[in-house]
């Protein structure tokens, strides 16, 4: 790795659900590293495994999931860590923000109650110097009138405000890694950017690395340093964000970008991807995208593509990626 010791290293991660005889591989053979302070975007559609991947790292998967592989976080192997140590890591070094700010706060308690509770917990765990008071936490996430908000109940805050509170809570102890799973999906467009900016500020002020999982490609494009594209449980492309968006190498990435509505001159153009996401329980032997891929050749249907490096820290899983024009 060119950036020294990685903060998070995922090696050969597999997550399976369902009967062992007919397994559904929600995540297959995932390899991924994240440097300290790096912002990584994971993009993919429903069923691509992006959420499951994060849940595997946080160890919040349902008990029916079968996980194999290694997840190293700051030198510790998370998958084999005792639950008590894992619980200590979660919330302090490892934090998480979820999609729905409406259900992530308890409607019966004020914002202040809930925030104090989290802060108490963090202090007991040998709190870092950053913690500060509840008001300071809210100030860090630019919530207006923080003293008033502390006395209010969740339903008195808008969705954007609640998500700010949740980001503030999650990052109160300056975690080393924040995983944000669709943090802006439930919010209005004008508020989405405000939340994304918080993540960038968090990296700048506390050196936190961020993994943001979303199907909103524009958020990833503008926020992340690197991007991972997943399809049907597998990573299909990974590279520097600027490079991947400017010159995507995997046909799926290309198709995904083309399906975004874009304003060109006075018209809006978009190009749907034909066909459907395959059933994870009945994946074809070759490349999962082959059936929808305009560049597919017979080899693609027979054998799973191997990793190919196409640039610095830019890899693609596609048989035709080496040929330049796909």
């Amino acid at each position: 790795m060119p950036h020294g010791e990685p903060l998070l290293a995922i090696r050969g991660l597999n997550v399976e659900f369902g009967l062992p005889a007919r397994p559904v591989r929600a995540v297959a053979d995932a390899d991924l590293t994240l440097a300290p302070g790096e912002i990584l975007g994971i993009a993919g559609e429903s069923g691509s495994g992006k959420t499951t991947l994060c849940a595997a790292v946080m160890r919040t998967l349902p008990r029916t999931a079968r996980v194999s592989g290694r997840v190293e976080f700051a030198g510790k192997e998370l998958l084999s860590l005792p639950e008590r140590e894992m619980a200590r890591l979660r919330g302090r070094d490892l934090a998480m923000v979820l999609q729905n700010p409406m259900t992530s706060l308890d409607p019966l308690y004020t914002i202040g109650n809930q925030l104090e509770e989290v802060l108490r917990e963090r202090r007991r765990g040998g709190g870092a110097g950053r913690l500060g008071s509840a008001v300071e936490v809210l100030r860090r996430v630019h919530l207006t009138a923080p003293e008033l908000r502390l006395r209010q109940y969740p339903h008195q805050l808008s969705g954007g405000m609640r998500q700010r509170v949740l980001v503030g809570m999650a990052t109160a102890a300056a975690p080393r890694l924040l995983i944000a799973d669709e943090p802006t999906t439930a919010l209005d467009a004008s508020i989405q950017d405000e939340i994304l900016i918080l993540f960038r500020e968090l990296r700048e002020s506390a050196g936190t690395a961020v993994v943001i999982v979303t199907h909103d490609l524009s958020a990833i494009r503008r926020l992340s340093d690197r991007v991972v594209i997943m399809y049907a449980g597998r990573i299909v492309e990974e590279g520097p964000t600027v490079e991947v968006f400017r010159a995507p190498r995997h046909p799926y990435t290309q198709a995904l970008l083309a399906s975004l509505p874009r304003i060109e001159e006075e018209e809006v153009v978009l190009q749907p991807i034909p066909g459907q996401v395959p059933d994870l329980a009945r994946l074809p032997p070759g490349c999962a995208f082959a059936a929808r891929c305009p560049a597919a050749i017979p080899l693609c249907r027979e054998e799973r593509p191997r990793e190919r490096t196409v640039g610095e820290r830019h890899r693609v899983f596609c048989w035709r990626a080496g040929e330049g024009a796909a």
Binding site: F17, A26, G47, T52, P62, T64, A65, A281
Partner: protein, 296 residues
Amino acid sequence: MSAAAGERPGDAGGLFGGRIRAGAGRPPLFATAICLLLVVAALGGGAIAPYVPDEADFTAILAPPAWVEGGSLAHPLGTDQLGRDMLSRLIAGARISLLTAGAAVLAGGTVGVALGLAAGYLGGVVEAVVMRVVDAFLALPFILMALAFVAALGTGIGNIILVMMLTNWARYARLVRSEVVSIKKRDFVLLARVAGLRPLPIALRHILPNALTSILVLGVLDVGRAIILESSLSFLGLGIQPPDVSWGLALAEGRTYMTVAWWLTVWPGLAIVLAVMSFNALGEWLKAGFDPRGRL
């Protein structure tokens, strides 16, 4: 989302989402077995019982259970003061208790569901009137209410069922109304209105099926409650009358002999406790699965 975790709760087809998978944790096997046993006893009745339940046998008065000294395998649970077989009387009691409880739950459920549906869907005056009556019924202690009704109407199985129905319908009405109020705001109900469906088909086809699981859970819980109520009334002499047999009645009759023949009171008492606990356990398990927010 992953394929396995992507399903929304309450989103599956079929009444139980295709298969029974209610509850947190394992199903209460013992309770379920007891409930099934009781249902078999209630339906089988005379076919299973070794003796006719009110057949007196003066050669075997107050015979103790088989394993106690002086007992015999002819009457495994012993006999009562008239020499009637306790096991047969318990089975006959199960029949009466379960049938009255079942009928009361069914009758109260039907009335309550219909009124709750009307109140929730129509709103306005209908809702205000129905819900005030519901509040009134829920505010009265049910045993007192039952006593008052029995005093006014007289005893007899038909009246007992009627009385029990009067004491339980309000809970169904309240539950169904709150379910309906939330279901009717869901998109598929709005779209049914857009499609031109009239209120009755919407209520029956779209709203009721989606409230059904909660109603069933309440129904199972209510069976236990109804058994207690019937037993209490019978114990007080206001419920089932001889020569019919009921656990509560048997308990009352055995009281006099408690010091000399414990089995006269212990068996019916045990039957009531087991039946009520089993139906409650089963109901609680279903409730944990279908009603995680505890609205029942």
